[in-house]
Amino acid sequence: MDILVLLAGVADSRYPLHEVSLDGNGDLAETGQTRRVLGPFDEGALELALKLRDKSETTRVHVLVLGGPNEDALARTVAAFKPDSLRVLELQPCRPWDSALTASQLGAFIRSDNSVPDLVFVGREFGDLDEGSIPVLLAGELEMPMFPLTQFAQWRGGQEQEQEQEQVRLMRERGTSREWLALDNTSYLATVTNDKRNKLRHPLMKNVMMAKKQPVDKVCQATDKAAGVTATSMTDPETTERNVQCRMLEGSVQDQAAAIADYIRQAAG
């Protein structure tokens, strides 16, 4: 099985955001100290692919990392997990707010690549400028059915069985049900959401050291397709006005708890 993992990375939320703006062409300009790291959805997508490879000698994991600020460092983070192939994909132009444009670029690259993957894992949001549209549109571009919000993946029969298994099962939870999809011979795109079961493992230190020296292959997908959605300005966020003055509850812990219980009773009707 060939699994393709698409990783966009996100700005590290532990640090202030680097300088971002729009240039005269409406393209993104990023300067200063950029710290792009794997986001929780990226990590989940990569971990699920690695989990499946752990249990199958014939499974290969191919990774495409979205080009952009500190792309080499991001790619080397991924290289430490020893994917079977790893490339940085530069999109020209790169306008992630235009989901249709971005999905068409990704789709065109994947279709033109050597072989169509059996399974595509991608985070439910593709980076800091996507709100979940790009993976959905990419599934359409690739004409693949989509399994949204995947939380876990395993070979049919479970991890306790040692022999090679034939089917991958994807799991998600909805409402009060856990749903399992057994993949047939159809290629699927699965979006991945954060879950305790897909927390990314720690790489071996020797692999981290090797990855630091590893050259990173770079590929490009250009398009002259007209923009459907243009970004006209970028500003700091407006704070949500709730028009409230917080009443700080004083007194003993019991007094404070009683006051909160009153609020809860009132809401419960």
Partner: protein, 327 residues
């Protein structure tokens, strides 16, 4: 049911099978965009719950509700199926002036629906927007980026735009009459229904989207803390939510994740325990929801949004709140 070829330039789309909460949040989105709701239409793929949709839509000021039916569509409420039905229905009824803007419910399903409608109709997917307005030259939308640390203004100068909006609760007036219902019967090939094995998760609390009271915890709590939050939720007939870091830590299931990447909740009261109030988290809480907060950090941003708060340790307060609720 009558049929009509009339369709407004601004259309809400919500499958009736998704429930009243989805219908109401779609109506709220339409109200925030349209000056006059008589300028909007509501498209309902499938006829599940259509009577209730008509009533709510009428109370919100909508004049026309279009129920889309087709072979094999009655029991299907997946976003892809809904999108195909909507696409076909609008191609039948577009008339001389096709729709400019389609709004879908907030939340993961609604956001997937928006992207799928855009794909099937070759439109522009605007994603999860904070504001959308239709102007003479096109559609202008505001959307957050970098986890709420920046805002982008997007412009579409032609064609169809599809967006999902988090606008809270609609203004409903029960003296208004029900919306008029029209039928659109479509003939479209639907994708095969996925064959899913299902098993219960053991969850017995109500969904986080539809509760009147939500108690929600952050990463600062542990399993014991979340067990206490669950007891509070049960005593108050509410439900339990959590932040993304709490979900990552396995303290609460992802179906209960509240925030920009999780569920959008619209309860009467949101009780935030150990939640600092980041923009990423608060994007999942309706602006008209009242908030009560506990946090040990007096500088936590949640206190600037809460109606009442306590600076303190959850380990001391939660057992006392449980006792107080028993009194």
């Amino acid at each position: 049911m009558d049929q009509t070829n009339q369709m407004s330039r601004i259309v809400g789309v919500v499958p009736g099978a998704w429930g009243n909460e989805a219908v109401e949040t779609t109506l709220a989105a339409l109200q925030s965009v349209c000056g006059d709701m008589a300028d909007c239409d509501l498209l309902v793929p499938g006829d599940a719950g259509i009577e209730q949709v008509r009533e709510l839509a009428g109370h919100a000021g909508i004049k026309r509700v279009h129920c889309i039916t087709g072979d094999g569509a009655a029991d299907r409420a997946e976003p892809d199926v809904a999108a195909r039905l909507v696409s076909e229905a609008l191609s039948q009824t577009g008339g001389s002036e096709p729709a400019t803007l389609i709004l879908t419910p907030p939340g993961p399903d609604g956001e997937e629906l928006a992207a799928r409608v855009a794909f099937h109709m070759n439109g522009n997917a605007l994603g999860r927007c904070e504001n959308v307005r239709v102007e003479d030259h096109g559609v202008v939308a505001t959307r957050s980026a970098w986890g709420g640390r920046k805002q982008l203004v997007l412009n579409v100068s032609g064609g169809l735009s599809v967006a999902s909006m988090r606008a809270g609760k609609p203004v409903l007036d029960s003296s208004r009459s029900e919306a008029e219902q029209f039928a659109i019967d479509v003939n479209v090939e639907l994708p095969p229904e996925p064959s899913l094995d299902q098993e219960p998760t053991g969850e017995s609390l109500p969904p986080v989207e539809s509760a009147r009271f939500v108690v929600s915890g952050g990463r600062g709590l542990n399993e014991e803390g979340f067990a206490q939050l669950e007891q509070i939720a049960r005593k108050a007939k509410g439900t339990l939510g959590g932040s993304l870091p709490a979900v990552d830590a396995g303290l609460v299931p992802v179906v209960r994740q509240v925030g920009i990447s999780g569920k959008f909740v619209t309860p009467e009261l949101y009780f935030a325990v150990g939640i600092s109030g980041t923009p990423q988290h608060m994007a999942g809480v309706s602006p008209d929801t009242r908030i009560v907060a506990i946090n040990k950090d007096p500088e936590a941003p949640i206190f600037s949004m809460a109606e009442a708060g306590v600076v303190g340790e959850w380990q001391q307060l939660l057992p006392e709140i449980l006792k107080a609720l028993d009194d």
